[in-house]
């Protein structure tokens, strides 16, 4: 396939690997062949007939989307015949199109508009009655307007091939053909909105976004999704300081075009009515609003007093805050408060993996590796639910590279549909079951192994031993839950480890111990909700909570500080694979401060010298001081993902009992998702999927 063939396009000699489709081959030479139905990575349709080109020695015009390049081929894309064909297709497709561009959400970023402008006729000759079919609402987030639809079938294919859901199909025939949802009048699916994203026209529109704005009235801010650990790039459409839309507009980043239901619709949690807008303090047993100044002074005074008398602090960090915030928080705790009682909710065993891979290097898989590996094994995780983007890449790998897939889980998962073989094992038996795959994996010539929280401690070591025994390149991903779960470990939010997974060699309390302790004088909870499923703290520490909402933990606090969300700050986060990406502030929220600003103000109030506290300065510090984080700034700054190089050995005893995934589903994301109006409006996909929670 890699042999280069030479051909001529519009008189220009070009070359491309044999087998490349003409429509792809010309792109890098700056030649555009227009198409509606062609969508990279999905099955070919040749339905829109926009990509017709003249090919010498072929009597009819050929579709560039289905034509593989061949040696000596002579192609012309800009002849009067081709121009006439394009114009004709546009005139035809516009015959039944409502031309309601002035009120169409897609107006301004519509491929049909663009193509008509570039290739179309100024005047239509269609003088008959247009066919009308009423608009339909398929779900709270998906609307379908048949008259606008050009039947390119991108939505059908992305749902079927990309998502593995196949919730869309085609009904009727001829001009009455129509896209239909799987439940006759509504959708029963992931509600990921990929169909909306790939729609070249305004036929599929997003419930929350409809009629809110014209696209050009928004600022488009590229940042990283705040929900799961996969680290999808998302472009926030911001207008009047509110987020109206999220999509990965330029298809860059790890996720390409992909966003799941959370990424696409659950950006609205920060705009919840329940959002805190002022600090609260406990007065007569009730939380009452107070000013930022008083709140910070009270906390600083309390912290100062406890530190002075050698009292005990406990600090619980977050899986959602940035690397800079986490780094600064552990510095605050260790240097400022003199405590090593610092922890966060651990959702996967990364540490043992890093230790087990000590000295080997290059064995942590990136998202790209999951897309390219000849074989992928998933241990103990419902990947489509908990890591939708990784599951999407895995399906793409099967489609494009015929990868072998082996889910080893307690119950059925969507990956079974793509699987070479699925193994059902009891929780904890995953690694043992791997043995039966050894021969197949060896033969595949390369493996990426993803493992969920049932695999921890010694099981991880056994897993790595197994991988080593295969004699082929094996890479690993320790699956963790949230947008910066990985960064929390690597920035030192555990008592065992300093930043860069350097053993601290100092004792310290873990979350469970802090919650159960009766000796703590202060408990400082930043962006976490440890009391979600717990009645109360054992002791009576002075409880400070930084959060967006009055969570179960905040309800018990002495002081609550309203914090900024991930969409309201700058910084970096590290995804499940260990790839660092940059957050960019999209909006501000009235009355709140970012966690980093809160730390900085507290430090100032306490007259602590913890160094500069801006995202830029802290990133510079992290890049120079934290092991494995010497990432290239230019990569981050240009919206790329930089792989970290944290390396072992990590000579500590990993407290495996402290590791447990929250087993979020496609529609949940810790304590955040319940505040998203979009998410709570949706029925959960009741498919055959096993959710970790049921086990």
């Amino acid at each position: 396939m890699s042999d280069l063939v030479h051909l001529t396009i519009d008189g220009k000699p070009i070359e491309a690997p044999a087998g490349t489709l003409l429509i792809d081959a010309v792109r890098k030479y700056g030649i555009e062949i227009p198409a509606f139905c062609y969508y990279e990575g999905l099955a070919l349709q040749a339905a829109c007939r926009m990509c017709l080109v003249e090919v010498e020695k072929m009597p009819k015009l050929q579709t560039a989307c289905t034509l593989p390049v061949a040696e000596g081929m002579v192609v012309r894309t800009e002849t009067p015949v081709v121009a006439d064909a394009r114009k004709a297709m546009l005139e035809l497709v516009l015959t039944n199109h409502p031309l309601d561009c002035p009120v169409c959400d897609k107006g301004g970023e519509c491929e049909l508009q663009d193509m008509t402008f570039r290739y179309g006729a100024g005047e239509g000759r269609f003088n008959e009655t247009k066919q009308h079919i009423d608009e339909k609402q398929w779900s709270p987030v998906v609307f379908f307007d048949r008259p606008r639809c050009i039947l390119c079938y991108r939505c059908v294919r992305i749902c079927n091939e990309g998502m593995g859901v196949a919730a869309l199909g085609i009904a009727n025939r001829a001009v009455t053909s129509e896209i239909i949802p799987n439940e006759a009048d509504h959708l029963n699916c992931d509600e990921c909105g990929m169909c909306i994203d790939v729609c070249p026209v305004g036929a599929l529109t997003s419930g929350p976004y409809r009629y809110k704005t014209r696209p050009w009235e928004m600022d488009h801010i590229a940042t990283i999704c705040a929900h799961c650990a996969d680290g999808c790039k998302t472009t926030l459409g911001v207008r009047n300081n509110s987020i109206i839309r999220a999509n990965n507009r330029d298809h860059s980043g790890l996720n390409g075009d992909f966003l799941c239901v959370k990424g696409r619709f659950a950006f609205d949690y920060g705009a919840s009515q329940e959002r805190l807008q002022t600090p609260l303090a406990r007065v007569d047993g009730k939380l009452e609003p107070i000013s930022w100044t008083r709140a910070l002074k009270t906390i600083a005074a309390k912290f100062g007093e406890v530190r002075q008398r050698g009292g005990a602090f406990g600090v619980i960090g977050s899986n959602h805050t940035t690397n800079e915030e986490n780094y600064y928080l552990q510095k605050f705790a260790r240097q400022g408060l003199g405590t090593n009682n610092i922890d966060h909710h651990r959702t996967g065993d990364v540490i043992t993996l890093i230790d087990a891979l000590a000295g080997k290097g290059g064995q942590l898989a990136t998202v790209e590796d999951i897309y390219n590996a000849p074989a992928v094994v998933v241990l103990g995780c419902d990947l489509s639910h908990q890591h939708p983007m990784l599951a999407y890449q895995l399906r793409a790998n099967v489609r494009h590279h015929q990868a072998q897939i082996y889910p080893i889980t307690p119950g059925p998962v969507r990956e079974d549909n793509q699987a070479t073989r699925s193994l059902r094992v009891d929780k904890g038996g995953e690694v043992e079951a791997l043995g039966s795959l050894a021969a197949e994996l060896k033969q595949a010539g390369g493996v990426v192994i993803l493992y969920g929280d049932p695999v921890k401690g010694d099981a991880v070591r056994k897993l790595v031993d197994f991988g080593e025994s295969l004699g082929v390149p094996v890479k690993y991903v320790a699956l963790v839950d949230y947008s910066n779960s990985r960064g929390a470990i690597e920035m030192g939010l555990t008592p065992e480890l300093l930043p860069g997974m350097t053993p601290s060699n100092t004792g310290g309390m873990r979350i469970g111990q802090m919650l159960a302790s009766t000796d703590l004088d202060v408990l400082w909870v930043v962006g976490a909700n440890p009391l979600k499923n717990r009645a109360a703290l054992a002791g009576k520490p002075f409880l400070v909570v930084q959060d967006l909402f009055r969570t179960e933990t905040a309800e018990q606090a002495d002081i609550v500080l309203p914090a900024g969300s991930a969409y309201e700050k700058n910084g970096t986060v590290t995804n499940v694979c260990g790839q660092v990406q940059m957050l960019k502030k999209g909006i501000g929220a009235m009355g709140t401060k970012t966690d980093l600003d809160i730390f900085a103000l507290l430090a100032k109030e306490m007259k602590l010298d913890l160094g500069p506290a801006t995202p830029d300065a802290l990133l510079a510090e992290i890049r120079t001081t934290v092991k494995g984080y010497d990432v290239v700034l230019a990569v981050l700054a240009t919206g790329g993902a930089a792989m970290t190089g944290v390396n072992g050995p990590v000579a500590i005893d990993v407290p495996v009992d402290a590791i447990h995934s929250a087993n979020d589903t496609m529609y949940t994301s810790g304590s955040i998702s319940r505040y998203s109006k979009a998410l709570t409006s949706l029925m959960e996909y009741p498919g055959e999927l096993y959710s970790g929670k049921s086990k």
Partner: protein, 436 residues
Amino acid sequence: MLYNKPDPQEVKVLTRRFGLENSASIDTYLATDGYQGFLKAREMTPDDIITEVKTSNLRGRGGAGFPTGMKWGFVPRTSPKPKYIVVNGDESEPGTCKDRLLIENDPHQLLEGMMIAGLAVDAHAGYVYIRGEYRYLIDILDKAIAEAYSRGWLGKNIQGTGFDFDVYTQTGAGAYECGEESALLESLEGKRGVPRIRPPFPAVSGAFQCPTVLNNVETYSAVPSILRDGGAAFASLGTPRNGGTRLFCLSGHINRPGVYELPMGFNLLRMIEEVGGGVWRGKKLKAVIPGGSSCPVLTADECDLAMDYDTLAKAKTMLGSGGVVVMDEDTCMVKAAMRIMRFYAHESCGWCIPCREGTAWLRKLLIRFHDGGGARSDIDLIGDVARNMLGRTFCPLGDAAAMPTISFVEKFRGEFEAHLAGRPCPHEHADHLALV
């Protein structure tokens, strides 16, 4: 049963058993040289079978006229995949009604043709895909298949020759598009009947992604006699490069409509005058569609033609499926064009833009035009829209709609002009249209 009396000018090869008592039964078949072609083919190598079919100059009877032997030769016989024989019995071209007679009167001839194709390409299973509206044929065919199984002419080790062959029947659900070979295969596999991207062609990747021979009922039905009597004998019946006979379906304004088996190259005017008994009611001939509704129309002056693929191609029309539609002098050609377009607009599968939107547009435009709501510019527009579809659609259905339309406008422009605003259709009194 038969629907018309045979004509003395007919050359009965495929229809030789038509009219015999119980012509569909295996006893009649065996008593009249049935399955002899198969037994002969069993003694031959696959290459020799294909050579014999090539010698016969048999060309695909579905419409495109592709040389059958050559098509069989494209099948990779050594492929480890199973190979399939698929019969296109989705006869739905308006004006065509021959395949049903072949199945109804001589189903074993079709089965034998399939078996010979199976020998030629090492296939051991065949599917007969029959048009949904022809449901009654399924009973006839299933009965013939059951007979063949019980008498050892299908199944394992056929007549001790060591050759296995199974046949299955499948009905369509009423879509013209499923007569297009790749859409037929999709439908056969239980999917939506839309065409596939080609290449790969069915010979390489057809039914269930396996190498497949796909021919029309009439094509397969010609094969037993070719093997039995030799390809040269069949070829000699027709004209050079157009071997054998053809079942012509005469319909429209004609005295003796019916299906007649005539040698390839038979003159069209003679066919109308002598075989069909001339235009009805003593009327004059106005136009003929020579090969089913998708072929460009011929004016009366153009009809002195030999009916074979090459001559008709030279006359810028097609032999097509053999559906000869005769139109008398009272026919409104605008209405005929409108009726044809109504059919294609209804039958377009909707897959590609030009066919889906073009046929719908032309249908509305022609209806309006025929009703007297047309403007002079609409006459050119009809041709323009059709030309915008021509050669640009995903499958030949778009061409099938565009070609006759273009020919109607070009050849009968005067009639279109006669329909211009305010003037009623000059043929409003004509009570019959050739295509209904």
